[in-house]
């Protein structure tokens, strides 16, 4: 049998719901990831890198039905294992395990892949990057931290050069308190109300109200909920309007005072008023949020949905430790964000190489000189590569073009003899002859 016949007909394409990028895209993706990481570190967050595989009992300790269906679960030997579906559960386990080795408040960033066997659809991935930060206190954690996370998000999106964005802030205690006040007690019904409120933006207001009524809420009760979540305006106006409701419910009062404190901190962080706003309809689906909640939207691209969300939780690790660990965190779903930004034309793919120069020796005799030039540039901090293959000069230039590299340094017979270099700018097509020690100036 020939080799060709031997080759099984294997599917080499990436599987549905999984992502792999071409070089130019991957370079851009990594640039985004690096920017996020740099901003996280600039605020003193510490890297965390937990295993992708966890014991299933850990991951499923609190997971709901949807998570259980989506999880990648398997056995190896006697072990019941699963791939992590988020980064919060591994963080909770990690912190519980290292309570005595960590310093609190602990500031972690966690950038890694998570796995959800979702039905494939646009914008849904089975393997995707999350970029989380969390600040975790022991017993208590000040509300300045809730404000700080907004400053972190704002800095990330500024550095990513994203168009106008807004971080929408709420406090979950407000809606919980309001519902208690008007007779919808905590539990199944309140959860259902919040689920409806969560979708308010995507659905006509009349339909939202009807959904509330069909839950069994009385007309005036449903109307009170609708009125409340529809309060709009500047942060200061909304805070005033809420306090004028004069609701004495304990949760409500606490939620209001927390929200006031967070907003008060925001100005110290130098955040302009147009990048954040209060929105009383933000509740976030996850029921572990107990206070501040956030969502972030691109103002001119509302259909992208929330590109960064999070909130405050009273107890990060109640399934793993009796120690009370309040925290606040946010998460950027980077794989989804990248795909959305690319599709909306908000980020632009560049060259397919980290090299800023390609050095082309005319033939093998010029290879040592090419290597010398390459080493020199590298010592100057300029990424570059040498084209070592034999072939026509035209093909070598074509390689440079396909790579999208900016500068080509040509070493032919003349250059070798004169110890000079011909530098070609691939955009302008201009050529100049330079000495080795003059070379760096074309990279300024």
């Amino acid at each position: 049998m020939s080799k060709q016949e031997n080759k099984p007909n294997l599917p080499t394409s990436v599987m549905t719901g999984f992502v792999e990028l071409l070089p130019a895209e991957q370079l851009l993706f990594n640039q985004l990831k690096d920017t996020i990481r740099a901003v996280y570190e600039s605020f003193g967050f510490v890297p965390l890198d937990t295993p992708t595989i966890e014991r299933s009992e850990i991951l499923l300790a609190k997971a709901g039905g949807e998570t259980e269906k989506q999880i990648y679960r398997f056995t190896k030997g006697d072990n019941d294992l699963s791939l992590r579906f988020d980064l919060t559960v591994p963080l909770a386990r990690y912190v519980s395990d290292h309570l005595n080795d960590l310093v609190f408040p602990a500031r972690f960033y966690h950038i890694g892949k998570v796995y959800r066997g979702e039905r494939p659809q646009k914008g849904r991935f089975r393997e995707f990057y999350q970029c989380d930060i969390d600040i975790i206190g022991r017993e208590s954690l000040g509300l300045a931290n809730d404000a700080e996370l907004i400053a972190v998000i704002a800095e990330v999106f500024k550095r990513l050069n994203l168009p106008k964005f807004i971080v929408r802030i709420n406090n979950r205690k407000l809606i919980i308190g309001l519902l208690e006040e008007i007779g919808v007690s905590a539990g199944e019904q309140a959860v259902e109300v919040m689920r409806i409120i969560d979708k308010i933006e995507k659905i006509p207001l009349t339909e939202t109200k009807e959904s509330l009524l069909s839950l069994g809420l009385k007309e005036d009760v449903a109307q009170k909920v609708m009125d409340f979540v529809s309060i709009k305006g500047k942060a200061v106006d909304i805070l005033r309007a809420i306090s004028q409701l004069n609701i004495k419910n304990e949760n409500f009062v606490k939620g209001l005072s927390e929200l006031q404190e967070v907003v008060a901190h925001l100005s110290a962080f130098g955040l302009p008023e147009d990048i954040y706003g209060l929105d009383l309809s933000i509740v976030r689906g996850l029921d572990y949020y107990t206070g501040t909640v956030y969502e972030t939207k691109l103002v001119d691209y509302p259909n992208l949905g929330s590109i960064c969300s999070g909130g405050r939780y009273e107890n990060l690790a109640q399934n793993y430790t009796t120690q009370k660990l309040p925290g606040v965190g946010i998460s950027i779903g980077l794989t989804r964000l990248f795909s959305q930004l690319k599709e909306a034309g908000l980020i632009k793919v560049g060259g397919a190489t980290p090299s800023r120069a390609l050095i082309i020796p005319f033939d093998d005799r010029m290879a040592p000189r090419a290597i010398e030039v390459s080493r020199y540039l590298r010592q100057q901090g300029i990424n570059n590569e040498v084209y070592f293959e034999e072939g026509k000069f035209k093909d070598k230039l074509s390689y440079a073009n396909k790579l999208g590299v900016n500068k080509v340094i040509i070493i032919g017979e003349d250059e070798l003899e004169a110890k000079s270099l011909t530098v070609k700018d691939m955009k302008s097509g201009e050529q100049q002859t330079l000495e080795l020690d003059e070379l760096t100036r074309v990279f300024d």
Copy 2:
């Protein structure tokens, strides 16, 4: 039931064979990883990030028995899936799938986690980072590339500040040719001979020879193998000794000329002779290497084994495409290397934060000023954080100590009034009073 009783007794420790690090260790690990990546990019290698999960048929297309036993394999829906056990197979699949989108020679670096359900033992991990580079040609690929990878390795280890290391180089065609020449034909027996040679360093020479004899090799044949792999000396001397053997076997002649060419290129890369050497006993276990092979050792820590290895393969993706794709690659097993270096005391764990300063407001009234200082430092490129929690000043300084942060900036009543800052150096204990715009100089 109280919450405490509710808490299931879940095992929060990291599973055997998996690694998770404390903050100071993780920061150091990432520093190593970043250095490797920066060096790879400085040579123009392009990042690749393939999914952790692959179709089992892809991963097992060529895998041997050991791999099949170790692999994490599972089904999800109708799909037979596995976690990648190395980065070469995904690379091969990726390149096969994107033949027309890539520019050749393609230069990839691939840093990611791989999975092997090995029996746990010291230095063996079930999840670990590999840091690979590969240069892949279409139809052909020059030997300068084989030399260049040694330059890359050398630069990595220099930048990691590792002690004296040596890259040991060989060409597999030499031993294959020699065996053919002396009547040990390619196939099972030759593979067994190579397996024995591969372990020559760990076993007394007499035992190695006995193993060869027990394979059925005649005394003089076994002796010839022993004599060959024992040729030692400088590269130039070894090359002369091999060519004086006057062996006409085609593989042997080709192996010699390839090795000569690689060595000739090495000096152009500015590699001092003491960081590389030829070693005819290096064969590497993997049978897909067909030419140059490398191993790297720390000279004074031989028991660490090879910390970086690789080689040339004739055909990267023969299981996935009929296109001939010759390549050359190396891999650093970073998780193992990190654990070895730490144990040998060759790398030193530093502070537990990326922050270069901790800003401590005396109480809530100073928080806005603390945030102002924090923002100012961040704009100057100085990572820092604010300690927002209430508490005794002593406890705040203790947080700084535990973090291992170098500078603490204190803002009390006096500082707030005078618009000054007290900067404490945590090592020397020295304190000085500065204005905001004088602050950066303590970070020089």
